[in-house]
Subunit: 149 residues, 2 copies
């Protein structure tokens, strides 16, 4: 269910994977790894996206966020269209190295969501609800511009 | 690539999915949806996990975090073994409703990681590195106890 990439290291044991210092990211059967992106200064969750091995290598190398767009089936340098370039302040991985966490500073208008909100997580699922209704958006919508990237 | 569940609502259009108030979570081809879990008070990223439709329904209903363990192929009431029950302070979904964000208060010793750290994200990927080496853990390791749940 997971694959490694020759671009990165190889963990020989579970202990090495979980407690070592070899970076051995585990991609899923589509060759993708999930990415959690938060705003470095405030900790706000901005978006959840995916990288393939090339997007991950480019992000490490140039210090701005690259993703894999599952919709467009293409590498995606976040901000190229919208100006919302994500400067990486810190990158982390988790215990079993199957997730990436990016803490970023966002250029342009500071947003990230293609719908126009500052964060993609603008709607609450009310606790104890019937599971069919969301609360109305409560995150700032930015003035219109090109939000598709 | 995504499926809905009769437990939740149905979005008829993209606009309804993205800007409406119908909760229509989109599960992947395994029937799972990714979950980002942060500590409500501090905003710290604790873990990245998965839910199936039943875990999501139970989380909404009882206000504590349920996941789907891909390792054990079973529902997983986080904290049942370790005492690290996650009380949900707020649940959100994102623009295209294919991710869940849980903001939680953690019971027990306040940890979440099966390796024993307070957060699963205890290792940094150094910027501009060769992509093969992680920095040593820099997140608090908790005193030993049963961490498998």
């Amino acid at each position: 269910m997971s694959t490694s990439s020759p671009r990165f290291g190889t963990a020989e044991t579970k202990a090495q994977l979980e407690e070592g210092t070899v970076f051995a990211p585990r991609f899923d059967d589509r060759g993708l790894i999930p990415v959690v992106t938060t705003e470095a200064a405030t900790g706000q969750l901005l978006m959840h996206a995916w990288m393939n091995d090339e997007a991950l290598a480019r992000t490490i190398a140039d210090g701005t966020a690259w993703y894999w767009s599952r919709t467009r089936n293409a590498l995606w340098h976040k901000g190229d269209t919208s100006g919302q370039i994500q400067q990486v302040v810190e990158m982390r991985t988790d215990c079993d190295q199957d997730t990436i966490w990016l803490r970023v500073k966002v250029a342009g208008d500071g947003g990230c969501c293609h719908v126009g909100y500052q964060s993609c997580f603008y709607r609450v699922i009310p606790a104890g609800s019937d599971g069919k209704t969301l609360a109305s958006p409560d995150v700032k919508k930015l003035p219109p511009h090109k939000h598709n990237g």
